[in-house]
Subunit: 414 residues, 2 copies
């Protein structure tokens, strides 16, 4: 079976994702698909709308054959490590021949060229150049393009325009990660339709909206899909309705975690806060000073209070997620991240996915974890904790949902 | 002014407290009263029903002249340190001549005698004897009495009966603390009326019920005083009604803090949990193992799951409070506790209390803190954090209530 790999969040799985899946299968000529999906927290540093299990179910129902979990250690990271974690897992399956990613440009050649100029990764010299370009006041994509191009000349302005597209930026990192892994997987860019990544509005008449717009509509929907319905495949709608009814939809996202988040921040001294991964440049003092001055005890209020030009919202949200989850220590350092995920966690599979898992018994380069209770690793420990904290914020929280990693087998019915 | 000192929780201030205040003034012949009150968390390890500010207001309205805060470092401790913290503060005012405590026996002589036999405190030898007596299966009061008596002979059975009364046990520790401080304050026992300390029922026809029974009635009262009304002075009722209406009454206690508590426990490894003060004998593993097996994600469910003969509910609740508040480190060790409170925090005062504060400018042995923002000490930092976490659990949480330590002056109108 020729198999295409995807790196996804499916928060939730919508028509745009369906289109990407279909195009990826076509472009790659694959008969089967593997998706590496972030778990309870997404790369933007937000708690996912639904459990990873429900999101895996949506993906399987829409035609994905095998859903793997991107460990939270990699999900809550900047593009470099998010991409490396995802690409590592696809590579480790030993069954994936191409990685298809949606991109604004739809072109792979400029990314391959930029990757070549970067000589395979972010060198210390490039990180220094990036720092300097940011200090000069350039936006992150412009600074990144300048630093990356600078290593071997090239058109920095064109690169800046390209990397201004968040998905092309991710794409560059997929290319870099696959080279770093000396992987046989071919990266393929698939042009994204219509809705921009961060678009908040629902396009009138169309069937494709951004996940951000879909979530915003769901938050307005008073527990049902509401205005979001036209932008979701029927299979997603069914899962969504069931989860919402069961009190397992986190429609107000971070606000539902405000009390434990604020408690985690209030009860740590600035010295302890400084241990949170990504807490740089005295941000711990900024947070400690902001807390007593917030207009209301909420996450949005906190984000507004601590946001500056230097800290994007995404970066701050990831930081808050790390603080909430008590992330700290060498596990979150570059050396640890560079070792890659240490297991392949299976969230669900189709009959074809079952065949892939059989093949993987021979081809996989990492242990395949079907039941979390059978495997022990600090990375997996983080995943189990993140899921428990996430599900504790559901409108009707339950222990079996919080610890579904222990209790529930992979999704095979959908 | 002759001034009597009280060590209290007022959770909330009820008719029994009023009776104790009146008797204390009469027995001591005092014209004024100072109460050292625990803050947002009580000695039983429970979040208080109302803010310390509202409870101070109740006390002042009922006739107490000066309300001081017992630092949370001492409030969340076994009798030995709770009593030492309270007695230290009364002693440090330099204006208190007697300490009146309610007791089941109403007699001071047996406590004085037992204190003499203990030669001023819990020696390492006595703690060893206590451990052994507990290992033999004796109840804590019986084991304590045996260990205390053993040091110099005496009637262990009579002492056991006496110390079986929780307030006599506290009384013993007041006597010990005053001796240890070489204080000029005279301890006086005042017999408690009717309701036992832990009695859960409301006595029909009477006007005095235990604080436990009053809180239980308030929890059933759907936001108002309900059945608890006959057991509260009108001034307490007024404060209670106002606070409940403003969404600042924690009627369901620990359950309102279940989400941050569970998050604090879930996100710590057993090694980190072991750093929580009072986490002994592998209890950290017991907690970690219990979490995924709870019937529901609540505090009561957790307490039931981890309770054993060796860990009383009170001890477990204090431990959970320490975990919630991220308490750890040398500040919580015996050496630190033995140094006593490092400041006198004023929560509120009457006109007579204002006179006492004037006198204290000359007599006080510790800095008198009227505005928390003006003083900096790790003990006070803990108090400010504890108040913020406590108030974040109110039905209508607000930042100004969470950080009232910064924003609100002492209570002077009531």
């Amino acid at each position: 079976m020729k198999t295409v790999g995807l790196i996804v969040e499916y928060n939730p799985f919508h028509n745009g994702h369906l289109l990407h899946l279909e195009r990826s299968l076509r472009v790659s000529g694959a008969d089967a698909s593997v998706a590496v999906m972030s778990g309870p927290f997404t790369q933007r540093g937000e708690p996912a709308l639904l459990s990873k299990r429900a999101r895996a179910e949506m993906a399987l129902a829409a035609g994905v054959d095998l859903v793997l979990e991107l460990p939270v250690l990699y999900a809550l990271q900047p593009a470099e490590w998010f991409a490396f974690g995802g690409a590592s897992l696809l590579d480790a399956t030993g069954v994936v021949s191409s990685l298809c990613f949606g991109s604004e440009s739809g072109e792979i050649a400029p990314l391959e060229e930029l990757a070549s100029r970067m000589q395979g990764g972010e060198s210390p010299a490039m990180r220094e150049a990036l720092k300097q370009a940011l200090a000069e006041g350039l936006s992150f994509p412009a600074a990144y393009a300048k630093a990356a191009s600078g290593q071997g000349g090239g058109d920095s302005a064109a690169a800046a325009a390209l990397l201004g597209n968040p998905n092309d930026m991710l794409g560059l990192h997929y290319v870099l990660a696959l080279r770093r892994l000396a992987s046989g997987i071919t990266p393929l860019a698939v042009r994204r339709e219509q809705a921009g990544y961060h678009d908040a509005g629902l396009p009138a008449g169309g069937s494709i909206a951004s996940a951000t717009a879909v979530r915003a509509a769901l938050a307005r929907g008073e527990g049902g899909p509401g205005e979001a319905a036209p932008y979701l495949p029927p299979s997603s709608l069914a899962v969504l309705r069931r989860e919402a009814l069961a009190g397992r939809m986190l429609a107000d996202g971070w606000e539902a975690l405000a009390q434990p988040l604020l408690t985690a921040l209030i009860t740590r001294s600035p010295e302890e806060l400084a241990l949170v991964p990504g807490m740089d440049e005295g941000l711990e003092h900024r947070i400690a000073a902001a807390l007593p001055r917030l207009p209301v005890p909420g996450t949005e209020a906190l984000l507004s209070a601590i946001k500056t030009k230097r800290y994007t919202r995404t970066r701050l949200q990831r930081l808050l997620a790390h603080a909430l989850l008590n992330h700290r220590g060498p596990l979150f350092g570059r050396d640890s991240l560079a070792r890659g995920p240490r297991y392949i966690r299976v969230l669900g599979f189709s009959p074809k996915g079952r065949q892939l898992l059989k093949t993987m018994k021979k081809t996989a380069k990492l242990p395949v974890v079907v039941r979390a209770a059978d495997f022990d690793h600090p990375q997996l420990g983080l995943d189990i904790r993140a899921a428990a904290v996430h599900a504790s914020a559901f409108p009707s929280p339950g222990i079996r949902e919080m610890y579904a990693d222990y209790y529930a087998p992979p999704v095979t019915e959908f």
